[in-house]
Symmetry: C2
Subunit: 360 residues, 2 copies
């Protein structure tokens, strides 16, 4: 196995509105200094670089975020920063990367990495990725990292594992029997008890050609659009071709559009500590217990419990409250409950509707 034939496809597209007001239109979630100055995007790169080096990284992001991403990653060669003129979800983003590689005559194993994951053991993570790459090369299939569930989480999709196959790089490998969409609590509890269910975190490995073939089979409209893009790029250059074609691509996730439909799906077991950082509730799980719940920044809590209290500006003083999420910046303060925190996205839409662009 040659490591020159591996490329990490880092998905850094969204602006993470569920992290508002920490995230802002010009300050997306993946560029926030969440842990002592370290960003989610920076941590993602740091985690994979020992395997692929800067020459083996592709970062897909929104055109409007590209300058900030480029500034944040000065060592990333400009042609490896893929700028989407508009978001078209992960099938288009990963498809673009695969089509691009194949059209340039390559067939690397693509390792798909969302930029909003926290991983508690980078070396264990890389071991699993090595196994995934080997499995993808060996099977020519689509490989997902099967994450060990630690609770009956209803916010993730699950994988039902089939038979164990030969281990790679010391990591257990499986056939995947099926993908299961976000379950009910009862189902999640049953999955946890059953033992052969894992979380699907959206970390994948496959050769570029295998992905192209799967997209052709399950998402023909996307395949057609990407064919066009590659053709047009030869005439007018990639940048111009993307501007013209990308907006017309179908908007669908790789999970839903390809992984859940395909049959040659494999899994490598990811036992490293893992957490997505999609919302304040999930971010809170990464913070140590503090006065009043968990907190970050300038916070005082009195007679308070189970709160998520974050400040990047004014002192937050909580008095006699429970189960709240309070996020303060110099421009805006969010006050909601742990339960309602998932609706911050809708709140941001409402602020937009009201023309409050100065805080977005």
């Amino acid at each position: 196995m040659s490591w020159c034939s591996v490329k990490a496809v880092v998905l850094a597209g969204g602006s993470g509105t569920r992290f508002w007001p920490l995230s802002r239109a010009h300050r997306p979630k993946q560029l926030l200094p969440l842990w002592g100055g370290k960003t989610l995007l920076g941590a993602t790169l740091e985690r994979i670089l020992p395997l692929v080096g800067w020459e083996g990284v592709l970062v897909v992001t929104g055109q409007h975020l590209a300058p900030a991403v480029a500034e944040h990653l000065p060592k990333l060669p400009p042609q490896q920063l893929l700028r989407e003129p508009c978001g078209r979800d992960t099938a288009a983003a990963v498809g673009w990367a695969a089509w691009r590689e194949v059209s340039q005559g390559g067939n690397p194993v693509l390792v798909v990495l969302p930029a909003d994951h926290w991983v508690g053991d980078d070396e264990a993570f890389r071991q699993v990725v090595r196994a995934g790459v080997a499995l993808a090369q060996g099977t020519n299939g689509l490989v997902t990292v099967a994450l060990s569930p630690t609770r009956a989480e209803t916010g993730y999709g699950y994988l039902e594992l089939g038979e164990v196959v030969e281990a790679r790089e010391g990591v257990r490998c499986f056939r995947v029997r099926r993908f299961v969409e976000k379950p009910t609590v009862e189902k999640a509890q049953a999955f946890l008890a059953a033992g052969n269910y894992r979380w699907n975190g959206g970390i994948f490995a496959f050769t570029a050609q295998a992905l192209v073939a799967a997209v052709r089979q399950y998402l023909p409209a996307l395949a057609e659009g990407l064919d066009q893009l590659v053709e047009l790029a030869k005439a007018v250059g990639e940048e111009e071709a993307v501007q013209r074609v990308y907006p017309s691509l179908p908007q669908i996730s790789l999970d839903f559009g390809v992984m859940e439909r395909a049959s040659n799906i494999w899994a490598v077991e990811g036992t490293f500590p893992w957490q997505d950082v999609g919302s304040f509730a999930s971010f809170a799980q990464l913070l140590p217990p503090a006065e009043g719940g968990v907190s970050l920044g300038s916070v005082v809590a009195v007679d308070s419990a189970n709160c998520v209290l974050l400040s990047q500006g004014p002192l937050v003083a909580a008095l006699g409250v429970e189960d709240l999420v309070v996020v303060a910046t110099p421009e805006a303060v969010l006050v909601t409950t742990r339960e309602q925190a998932q609706k911050v996205k809708d709140l941001v839409k409402e602020l937009e509707r009201r023309g409050l662009h100065r805080v977005l």
Copy 2:
């Protein structure tokens, strides 16, 4: 009745920590622009000036707040601003004013006005004050304004009215049978039903000599201290005398120390709309209904109810919350419940204990 013999004693001493973080050590509650730039102190003066003019005003405040008060009231002659080196509650503050007048050979009727009241009809208020002054002069007793209760409030003291006496200036006057400390809900409901109970708001009228006599009778230690102060002032000047004597004065309220103990208590009926502005909960009653409850400043509320949302800085965005009090300034954000809001005073003490002086 000569109006030259009336002086308003405006009590503007406290910094209003229950209004933190709107109020700050250097920005006390009574100087906050709460309604379109108008302050509580400014509104109090505006309300009484048509009766007494600037020459008839005494403002008692803390030494540390005096520069801000003087700046806010440029027309107040400096010798009419009484600076307390430390807070000794209302008996000492009003006693000082009374001793001062008497020692200067005067015997005006003193009208005691807390600086944190909202009044909905200034002309009706002045009519009641005129009646109170006439009653105080006519009876040589201690007169309180009996405020009409509009709810079974447990946060105020009550007055039990006795027989009606001759009306003054068209306002009903009564003997006061007794003062009742803040009651239970059951008692408050019974008072409301009984019809002869009123709120005691802390607005009083009496001649300076009547107050001096009552203090001599019920608070002899205070009387002794004020005698000393006046004597010493002749030798070293009032400022120096106050510095030396004031800290040793007993700390007790005029209500508890004098009014509840005295027998020659009278009341004038105050039917004007009235509200104290002691806490966010009481302030909230003065704000019109808004999205999510009541609000002031830059606020958005979605799926929220019965909240008090105030901002003098960052946008406050409430999502799916109820019964909360959120108060945001550029330096600090308070998040508490309506029920806990009365404990903000304790929170401020806690912040002080932790050395967070930059937000106090």
